[in-house]
């Protein structure tokens, strides 16, 4: 992986925004997807009721997870699937390795799974002589470029087609300068089909795991999970323990929401329900905790475990759209990533909850109604309290909370602010003010709303 080093979100975003044309293009691509989501949502009259139901089903899961995990495990075993439990990324990787080693396999094909990205599975296996190929086209492109995905649904959304053409020229021997998406996809199709035909082990992620029946559902548009799984002798599924849903009929709610929220499609092209191994095939399920049970214990943040990884919050986030997914230096980027990451390592990810305008757009589009922006705000307080915030932000937060909690100082600060903006704008529009970066400060209004109200309240026109 290209190291992100120790740079924080602001510094990494600064690298990204240097190319203004690219930023505008990235912003536009994601906004276009957000609009497709809006259109798809509007076509469903009961959209809001569906979101509410999905949220409540997940609340039920969060309050009965122990019971559902036991039920799911028992049903998996009844269906002939071997169950493994992993407490950490390391343990997860060891389990995958031991399954492959027992078979003497040195190659595996993988369909999209953010969990295995989180665990850095490919790197772990490579060190042990096992070659893994990511078969989702976007992930494959990121893999050959030695870069992590920048979006959970659209892994290479930040790349231009010419850059992809260059990568294909280097790795797949296509003609130099070829950048037509259809032609490039055809080349990848041929190459990856060959991979599917020859690999004997396949790993997939899990979108939904049904406690009631012991089956799991994997959603893709490309069909890569199916190509891998149905041609393999050993099929492995890795899932975070929060992916459980109680009953099969609940899939109706989630599958109606997922693809519409993600890309505006009425359903993902392939929604595959795996229940039992094929004749002669081995199936393994790895249930991974890696911090999830801890997040479950944090009352303010446990709702983040409802996430179905649709990416809608990223597509709508003005900060994500302008700073690029890689600037979040975490597998899951964007608003939801900024809530999940501090649970894993608060110090390392202290900057992420600050990468938000708190405009609330993320919470508005979230299909499971996670109060994303509230949680970001709560993390900020937690992080400041723990002393992990960058100094400039901590001071700003302290000053802001003092100002906001005292009406007198708020009025005074407002007046002073307006006076400064009007008379000495350079005091604000300078490099020392972090809010000035990348934006021009507005002209100050002549009077505040309360001043205006005072003047006009008796004006009964």
């Amino acid at each position: 992986m290209k190291p992100n080093g120790t740079k924080d979100h602001a510094a990494l975003a600064e690298d990204f925004i240097k190319d203004e044309e690219r930023v505008n293009w990235h912003d536009g691509s994601l906004w276009w997807i957000r609009q497709k989501r809006d259109k798809a949502a509007k076509n469903i009259p009961e959209w809001e009721e569906l979101r509410e139901a999905a949220s409540q089903i997940k609340s039920n899961v969060i309050s009965n997870l122990h019971e559902y995990l036991l039920q799911f495990e028992a049903n998996l075993q009844k269906n002939g699937i071997t169950v493994h439990w992993a407490d950490s990324a390391q343990e997860h990787n060891e389990i995958v390795y031991s399954i492959l080693k027992a078979k003497g396999f040195t190659e595996m094909v993988k369909s999209k799974s953010m969990l295995t990205e989180e665990c850095q599975l490919n790197e772990y296996l490579a060190e042990r002589g096992i070659d893994v190929i990511n078969s989702d086209l976007g992930e494959y492109i990121q893999q050959i470029d030695n870069e992590p995905p920048s979006h959970i649904v659209l892994p290479c959304i930040h790349k231009r087609k010419e850059e992809i053409g260059e990568l294909f020229h280097e790795h797949l021997g296509t003609e130099k300068g070829l950048s037509d998406p259809t032609l490039l996809t055809r080349v990848a199709r041929k190459h990856l089909r060959n991979i599917f035909m020859t690999r004997r082990a396949a790993l997939t992620g899990v979108n939904f795991a049904v406690a009631e029946t012991g089956e799991y559902v994997v959603c893709t548009n490309e069909g890569n999970a199916d190509m891998g799984a149905h041609l393999s002798e050993v099929q492995i599924a890795s899932m975070g323990i929060e992916k459980i849903i109680p009953q099969k009929k609940h899939l109706g709610v989630f599958l109606r929401l997922l693809a519409r929220s993600a890309t505006g499609q009425p359903i993902t092209i392939y929604s595959s329900h795996f229940k039992k191994p094929r004749k002669g095939q081995e199936m393994h399920m790895i249930l991974v905790d890696a911090g999830r049970s801890r997040q479950l214990g944090r009352a303010d943040f446990r709702d983040s475990l409802k996430c179905i990884k649709c990416g809608a919050c990223m597509n709508t986030c003005p900060v994500y759209r302008k700073s690029g997914g890689l600037s979040y230096h975490n597998t899951i980027s964007g608003p939801i990533g900024a809530i999940l990451a501090p649970n894993l390592d608060m110090k390392r990810h202290a900057d992420l909850p600050f990468a938000s305008t708190l405009c609330g757009s993320c919470s508005n589009v979230c299909p499971v109604k996670i109060n994303i922006h509230d949680q970001l705000y709560k993390w900020r307080q937690e992080i400041v309290k723990e002393g992990y915030a960058a100094n400039t932000k901590a001071l700003g937060m302290k000053a802001m909370s003092w100002t906001l909690s005292s009406p007198g100082s708020y009025t005074a600060a407002g007046k002073a602010g307006r006076w400064v903006l009007k008379n000495i704008p350079i005091a604000i529009n300078n490099k020392l003010n972090p809010w000035y970066k990348g934006r021009d400060m507005p002209d100050g209004p002549k009077e505040s709303f309360s001043e205006w109200y005072e003047k006009n309240k008796d004006d009964k026109s």
């Binding site: 276009w32 997807i33 009961e46 009721e49 569906l50 509410e52 139901a53 409540q56 609340s59 039920n60 969060i62 309050s63 009965n64 122990h66 995990l69 269906n79 439990w85 992993a86 407490d87 078969s135 989702d136 086209l137 976007g138 659209l154 790349k159 231009r160 087609k161 998406p181 490039l184 996809t185 990856l192 089909r193 599917f196 035909m197 548009n221 490309e222 069909g223 199916d226 190509m227 149905h230 041609l231 099969k248 009929k249 109706g252 709610v253 109606r256 009425p266 092209i269 392939y270 929604s271 595959s272 795996f274 229940k275 039992k276 191994p277 094929r278 905790d289 049970s293 479950l296 214990g297």
Partner: protein, 204 residues
Amino acid sequence: MTTREKILAAVLQNQSPKNPLPDISQFKGYKENAVKTYMETFDSIGGKAFLVEDMNATKTLIRENFDITQRMVTTLPELEDIANLISPTVDPHTFQDVEVAIIQAHLAVAENGAVWLTEQVMGHRILPYICQHLAVVVEANSIVPTLHEAYAQIGEGQYGFGGFIGGPSKTADIEQALVLGAHGPITMTVFVIQPLPISDNLTT
């Protein structure tokens, strides 16, 4: 303590106070116009849907729409004269050169264009994913309005593998340009079989 016990203990200790499951029985669509809605939705997701009277009409359209000199396979005995019936015991890798696979779906969903297939009708799990072109036959009266009715019909389902398929394989990973045929079928065609009512037969 094993990892399993450790995780389960942590979950038990940290889970929230009990929340009930919501009632989702109010979610349903309208059966009227299900066929028309299905066909329109399916076309809008890059598929091609034909309304046909019977299997003979289906056969004619298959001959017209596909290159029948290439390898054609099916799980439907009625189509044996235009495609090879597949054996369930064959190695899945041998399907790599299948040009067209023709199978029958259990049901289809009007709201999203998807068909529901289990391994019983696929003949082999890989078949609808590995073929270059997928053709699916579905009875008009098995089209349901939404996924809620679909799951009600599927019930627990006696299958080891089942899947909804809603159109040809696709990707938009390169600059959001839509490309049909990422790894799986480049096209998907659905033949909706709706026999003409007898009175209509007489008047035409």
